[in-house]
Chain length 152, copies 4
Amino acid sequence: MQSNIEEKQTMKSFTPYTHTVSYYETDKMGVVHHSNYIRWFEDARLHFLECAGYPYTEMESDGIMIPVHSVTCSYKNAVRFGDTIKINLKIASFNGFRFKIEYTVTAADTDELRAVGSSEHFFTDMSLKPVRTEKKYPKIFEVFAEYIGKDL
Amino acid sequence: MQSNIEEKQTMKSFTPYTHTVSYYETDKMGVVHHSNYIRWFEDARLHFLECAGYPYTEMESDGIMIPVHSVTCSYKNAVRFGDTIKINLKIASFNGFRFKIEYTVTAADTDELRAVGSSEHFFTDMSLKPVRTEKKYPKIFEVFAEYIGKDL
Amino acid sequence: MQSNIEEKQTMKSFTPYTHTVSYYETDKMGVVHHSNYIRWFEDARLHFLECAGYPYTEMESDGIMIPVHSVTCSYKNAVRFGDTIKINLKIASFNGFRFKIEYTVTAADTDELRAVGSSEHFFTDMSLKPVRTEKKYPKIFEVFAEYIGKDL
Amino acid sequence: MQSNIEEKQTMKSFTPYTHTVSYYETDKMGVVHHSNYIRWFEDARLHFLECAGYPYTEMESDGIMIPVHSVTCSYKNAVRFGDTIKINLKIASFNGFRFKIEYTVTAADTDELRAVGSSEHFFTDMSLKPVRTEKKYPKIFEVFAEYIGKDL
């Protein structure tokens, strides 16, 4: 029944991904090496899938992977060892075949902007062959369709 | 004498940066983790500086750093453990204050495309404060100005 | 007053460092790359310093670093993407000049053993010159002396 | 003919693994992060397998992996961005079932010592189940048996 589904969905709790910077993530410039933001985006989108009730481990068990087609990141203010950042994200587009996520990295304590970025992905099978999800993988389709354009 | 200097510059040999993929650069998808391309771009631009006769260690000794303002990468074909890739680059823009580099990653043996990307940078002093190079750091200015738009 | 100090120290809460495995920490063998345990040991000892009331950021502000003199790790059971591990540690030795920490990595949910390891460190100033802490850095000396041999 | 095989083996050229330090391998201490040596050991042993005529990609194709059972590293002198190091190694023990490799890291230009370390490994199948190589994988057995105790 529709009302039950809505109730269940309302109960999902989306917390932004948070991360406290490790010493090994810094470089000799004294701040976080820029490549780590790309890794944090991955952490954040897999955290989203878990919050959405469909962890990536389950997606892999179902035979689907989401390799990265492109990434972008604009660095606004340096992040340092010991800082805690949080990442809010939004599914900017999704058509059952590919999707794009946008990320906003802020200081967890002050909400000051640290970086913004994006990533595009295809759905593929375990041999990296593209897959359409709408009919064959309705659970995946629904998870993404449900959250398009929402600020999470 | 001017003619000698020109001759010397002509003799600089630009070899594209090459890299053989380490096992630790792969992930459980069986291919190179996408964050490593961002690291290879860094290797490639520091390799360029060395080829251009102005290694980054010298730039740091001169008090200048080039933190990353933005990065992009589009992944075209997976790179695997043991593969050797090469990276050609081009200084797409430079105004003495900031610059942009574009990268092309290909298979070293077949020249097949693997990825394209870019990075934007500011020149800063050691406290990450932006710096204009034209008058204060003519050596840096000349290195970048000389190679704008050239396919290296 | 001595009694107040003791009371405050008793109230320090030592929680073992916990970590949920990121996708980028895996390799094509499908499990966590072994080098990451060495990084987790670092996370765990800096977490200890924070629990002990003397965060590493403060130690660095005081002009002291603790570079690694040696590491060991014995891998018992593979750790996989999505697993949460916890690390208990013990200061095995400390003489004001150098110290050794032992680590035990277990599955956070089942307490099953994943790995054991150790690291040895010197105290140094910011130019990596060894330093004796007892007289010049009594706060550091006390933090380490207080916890020698305790299972944390 | 036996003599030809011997001749061919004599002609194998063992070059020590060399590596020029990337910027992203440093940390805010200004030197290479200690975890990277563990990664270089891996690079060095896979380089050995290639020199020995049996690349790891071929070993994996044959269904065999060599996960790490333990590692150790003692750090002697810091390695910095731009430095080139070389790694000599020795198969310290091998019984067809497990093996141990010892590594010596030196500055490529001066031969000054930077670190020593070791790693122990099992041979396993692709599901990480231990495997004895002597009868089932004679090629692997021979490669390791041939080089026991030799300084490479």
